[in-house]
Amino acid sequence: MLELKNVTFGVEDADSTREIIRGVSFVVPDEQFVVITGPNGGGKSTLARLIMGIEKPSSGQILLDGQDVTELGITERARLGISFALQQPVRFKGIRVVDLLRLAAGRDLSVGDACEYLSAVGLCARDYINREVNASLSGGEMKRIEIATVLARGTTLSVFDEPEAGIDLWSFQSLIQVFENMQKRAHASILIISHQERILNIADTIILLADGQVRAQGGKDEILPELLKSTVPVTCNRILEGGAAHAD
């Protein structure tokens, strides 16, 4: 279970501090699928980075399974059971897909095991396992490999920052399947940042984040109709229709 208590985060501008996250509190219970959505620039990606420990909050608390992890670094949080799929996956010269999956799994995966993770994200494993995670891979391929690394980690909390960006429509259903399968694992909880209606549709809870604050939170039956009616910022409705890549 992940819990955020009154988390704030600001960045120093030329002569002032600009608050990006303003007193955010919510809970991601065990075995729950929580989606954070909201307009661009609303603080969603920053929130994910705060959870992973890439950024440290200015104030507030982050708890994982009851343990205060606010002051812990990325490595420690990863070892305690947080995984993170970046919005823009990182490329490495010389590191192969199988190497990355082995690092993620923390053990010497057999090629067969590695292939399973790749197949789960819709990549023909044989074609990819020995390829370098470098500029020769397309954006969509990188996204899938990123998701496969999270699968290989198998941690209790998995955070995905816009996993649908760059994934073609044909594969979308299997992406949904990946999340549904992850959710079936005992104690596993999933936090996804997404604009995609089909992802919002499988959420247990939807959190609407705008202007660094939680504007609405609830079950999808409660929140989704409101979102689609465009009662909240105009950009949100447009994004929900468009679906794909939007950077925060």
Partner: protein, 306 residues
């Protein structure tokens, strides 16, 4: 007889854990420590200067020659001349390499001058590994000079590796390509401490349809310095590409100087050079997989130098 230290050096530079199969010549502390010629590959000592001639009979296929050099005696300095004569239509692997273990306070140096005369329609793979170890204050120095004359329709792949322990290196490589010849060079280099390394490649594309791809990947750590200079001259209908990709760490310095010279309208030449520290997002990504910052750095460097 080889000592344990020398055997260890051999394992580092040539993956040799025992006497190799096929033709070989092992040089230890300036003296011949073992030699074997085969029906197709003849190794003979030079009479006018230190070194050997390696003559490979035309049409020799799937054979290999190992010519490692190990130095374990502090203060030894040598210049060795090795000439390779590769007949037409050969397909061979040549493994050279030098390992120095210097536990004394005097500098040890090995300067290997290799000259390859490669016939027509050959495939040659050349692997050269440099390695140094030892706790003494004496430096471990290697200055290899390599000349490669590639005959028509032949392709040569050179793998030059220096990952650890060599204090001072100047590598000088010259290649001349005939029509239809191809050269691929992969250099991998890591320097640390106060080491210095300089690599100079001069490639002349003299025949039509010749091509060269010279790629260097290097990591400079601590206070080490590297200079990489790669010059490709297109003197015919040819294509050339050179790339230097370097990671700098700590207080290291790297100078990359790619040079292209087109002397023919149909020469197509490209150079790329990139130097920078390890990208922060690469470290962050590996940390999110549970690695510490220094483990992440090691993985990134190992992959980069693969």
């Amino acid at each position: 007889m080889l000592t344990e230290i020398q055997k260890q050096l051999l394992a580092e530079i040539a993956d040799l854990h025992k006497v190799p199969e096929g033709a070989y010549n092992i040089r230890a502390n300036g003296e011949a420590a073992g030699r074997n010629s085969t029906a197709n590959i003849e190794i003979t000592s030079k009479t006018d200067k230190p070194g050997i001639d390696i003559t490979i009979r035309p049409g020799t296929k799937n054979e290999s020659v190992h010519i490692p050099v190990v130095l374990s005696q502090s203060g030894l300095k040598e210049v060795v001349y090795n000439d390779f004569f590769v007949g037409d239509g050969c397909d061979v692997v040549i493994v050279a390499g030098c390992g120095i273990s210097n536990c004394g306070d005097q500098d040890s140096a090995h300067d290997g001058v290799h000259c390859f005369h490669i016939g027509k329609n050959c495939r040659v793979k050349y692997v050269e590994k440099h390695y140094g170890e030892g706790t003494g204050r004496g430096k471990r120095i290697m200055n290899p000079r390599t000349e490669v004359y590639i005959g028509e329709g032949s392709s040569v792949e050179m793998e030059m590796v220096q990952i650890k322990g060599v204090d001072d290196t100047k590598r000088d490589t010259l290649a001349r390509l005939s029509a239809g010849a191809r050269l691929v060079v992969h250099e991998r280099l890591m320097t640390h401490g106060d080491q210095r390394a300089e690599s100079v490649y001069t490639v002349e594309l003299n025949g039509d349809d010749s091509s060269a791809d010279v790629v260097s990947r290097s990591v400079a750590r601590d206070r080490s310095r590297q200079v990489y200079r790669s010059r490709i001259a297109g003197n015919a209908l040819s294509s050339g590409h050179t790339e230097c990709d370097a990671i700098i760490m700590d207080a290291a310095k790297v100078l990359a100087i790619p040079e292209l010279e087109a002397n023919c309208l149909d020469a197509a030449l490209i150079h790329e050079a990139a130097i920078g520290k390890i990208a922060g997002d690469q470290i962050v990504k590996l940390m999110t997989l549970g690695l510490t910052e220094s483990e992440a750095e090691e993985q990134i460097i190992n992959g980069f130098l693969r």
